[in-house]
């Protein structure tokens, strides 16, 4: 099996743009939070980006909604960081795995239709007519899950082939897992892997509010929330990683930040203690001996406490950072962001080995072990 290394990170979120900005933010301070726009739900909003810098054509920008633009922008940063952006031949054989949900809706149209449906003589026909008349034809392409990958192919020329994984947090872990396995086995040499999430959307807030998963008080650390009922704060952001075999990186003179020593994921039937047990199992499977943990803890009651207890057992001396306390919960992008931060700490000499955890808010448990390159 071949070693798999990270040679490029592209990261945007409420904490800024680029790996350095995020490592600085990780060292201290409180996250950037917007408590007003979706009151009573705080969100961690993406910083304002100059889209032109990574998505040069306005026509491309117009075809994308924010979740795609965040992802496309982060993908461009990753390609730059890996020294791959100008190498068309390399990008032409670069494989792509994206972890994605779906895209934004037209909220005004939805509201108008719901208002009109109440008085409509024939609601079904009214719905048909309004959808046909009011939906922007290209909006569908901004909603389709696999069109983040499609946009990355178009804007950045990454055209080996793309696959889009869905399924909330787990999709991020499994995207990294499958990419790593394909490189390690020799099937492929180089991958762009990652995801993005737009939290500043009432439709995603609606889904998680239905399930009573959202934190509705001022920002508090994820570790402190369970004692006050628990809940997650969604965050906007995007993260892509360039992964390649050690030999491939060396041959093209790319400097690895860290190695991905292992990725483990599973799903437990959730009951008290199952998350704690799952983390012990994943950690054993990976042979993890980290001196730093990047936790994807959500702040949700029960599972957050179980993760904290498990981490205390697994790594009594390790420093523990929560991505939720840096950028918020970014769902499909959460595991890639954790890996990016871990790689940054290792590359900067602040850690020798890192464990990234991803306990899904509802299902799915994953962990990724990073070591020095």
């Amino acid at each position: 099996m071949r070693d798999v290394v990270i040679t490029g990170v592209g990261l945007v979120s409420s904490a800024g743009e680029g790996l350095e900005a995020h490592l600085t933010a990780l060292a201290g301070g409180t996250p950037n939070t917007d408590a007003a726009s979706f009151e009573p739900f705080p969100v961690h909003p993406a910083v304002t980006l100059e889209w032109d810098r990574q998505i040069p054509k306005k026509s491309d920008q117009r075809q994308m909604e924010p979740w795609q633009k965040l992802g496309c922008y982060a993908a461009g940063l990753a390609l730059d960081a890996a020294g791959a952006k100008e190498d068309a031949a390399l990008k032409g054989r670069m494989q792509l795995i994206v972890s994605a949900g779906g895209g934004e809706r037209d909220y005004a149209v939805d509201g108008q239709i719901l208002t009109g449906l109440r008085q409509a003589d024939n609601p079904g026909v009214f719905l048909n007519e309004r959808l046909m008349g009011d939906l922007r034809p290209t909006l569908f392409l901004a909603q389709l899950s696999n069109l983040l990958a499609g946009n990355i192919s178009i804007v950045h020329g990454v055209t080996g082939a793309s696959r889009t994984f869905m399924g909330e947090e787990s999709s991020g872990v499994d995207a990294i897992r499958i990419a790593r396995e394909r490189i390690a086995s020799g099937q492929d040499d180089i991958f762009l892997v990652g995801g993005s999430y737009n939290a500043e959307r009432p439709d995603v807030l609606l889904i998680y509010e239905m399930g009573s998963f959202l934190w509705k008080k001022p920002y508090t650390s994820v570790w402190e929330r369970p004692a006050q009922g628990g809940g997650m704060i969604l965050g906007s952001g995007g993260c892509f990683l360039v992964l390649e075999s050690r030999e491939h990186a060396a041959a093209r003179g790319a400097k690895p930040l860290a190695a991905i020593a292992g990725v483990a994921s599973d799903r437990s039937r959730r009951q008290p203690g199952s998350v704690e047990g799952a983390l012990h199992g994943l950690s054993r499977q990976l042979g993890a001996k980290p001196d730093v943990v990047i936790s994807g803890a959500t702040g949700i009651k029960g599972i957050t406490d179980e993760e904290r207890a498990a981490l205390k057992d697994i790594t009594p001396g390790a420093a523990i950072h929560a991505t939720g306390d840096l950028v918020g919960h970014t769902m499909e992008a959460q595991a890639p962001i954790g890996v990016a931060l871990a790689a940054g700490l290792i590359a900067g000499g602040q850690a020798g080995e890192a464990l990234v955890t991803s306990i899904g808010h509802w299902r799915g448990e994953g962990a990724i072990r990073l070591t020095k390159a």
């Binding site: 499609g150 055209t159 082939a161 869905m166 399924g167 499958i178 009432p202 889904i207 998680y208």
Partner: protein
Amino acid sequence: MALRDKQGRPLVAVTGMGVVTSLGQGKDDTWAALTAGQSGIHRIERFPTEGLRTTIAGTIDSVDVEPFCAPMLSERLAMLAGEEAVGQSGLASSDFPGALFIAVPPVEMEWPQREALAEASGQGGEVTYKDLLKAAATGRFKPWHDLFIFGTVADRVADRFGTRGSPISLSTACSSGATAIQLGVEAIRRGETDAALCIGTDGSVNPESLVRFSLLSALSTQNENPEGASKPFSKNRDGFVMGEGGAALVLENAESAMARGAKILGYVLGCGEKGDGFHRTRSSPDGMPAITAIREALTDAGLAPDDIDYINAHGTSTPENDKMEAMSCTAVFGERMANLPISSNKSMIGHTLTAAGAVEAVMSLMTIGTSRIAPTINYQVPDPAIPLDVVPNVARDASVNYVLSNSFGFGGQNTCLVFGAEPKLMY
């Protein structure tokens, strides 16, 4: 027979198959209807169609779910296909010894749910998402969180069959079903598992998804004669017809399948894929990505173009796809393309979207197993620009050892699979 391919990887055998389409439940019924040239396309009765440009589809109306919505129907179709496939394989029906790879349509909350939330909010004036959020806060709608997140169909299917590990839900648009199979093949070849359950499912014919395709001018509007609307490769083709379906394949390491005495239905010999960065919905004018995907699949299978006996086409019946597919096949197969049978199941069951690659994989293997090629129906007006042997209108008996199945999708997705009765002998 060697149980490894030319590259030394484990051979991947198919030991179980299941399918449900608008033509029927189960692969035998569906295959009988397909080879009889029957169409499953009909007028939509599930919801009012007044005000729509397209009023026909290949919906599956015989399956009831509650509440009726795309994720529930997609889940049910996956279960039905999975039960047939796992049942045929002889593996444990609820303790499947491998991973799940499932192509599912992207889900979101639908209009009946939005309306229920709007009503529960008590808002008498203009409804906004603030009102829906207020209703959500009551806690009365808790089950809808689970119902409308992306990982739920896979989670429930994984529970039902007891598959191992983290199930993978995926989308590569209209090639998703093929990608699910490809992921299973790769996992077996890497030695991570000896078995994989690969499923494609799509039960998403609802007003909004139909309108979305309609607004992209992708759908046929020839509503007068529903059975005749899907006309792949015909000169008068005018778009695809949405269909629903589910299909499942049990893939196994051939060595372990033989060791347990399983009946082998065929082999997945090769997979090929290539991205296209030309446009969001159109393919590169030179056809290079599709051509590359086909060539990669043949190379991966250890076959030459001359080995292929039949092509199960993507054949959507859109002007763009069929022209591009014909051009790409001609580039790979050359002059032989004039006589190499290529037919489209979509002429009868419509485009089952996320499920299509898996449904058509099952049909490709049925072609091998029964030595019979299903026709392309509604082929009355040949397109002189794409002279092909589309097996027009009537099924044909033929000895078929190797099949190429094409799947292409929005977002530059091109995935091709090669199936065989046996692997090609090594010298």
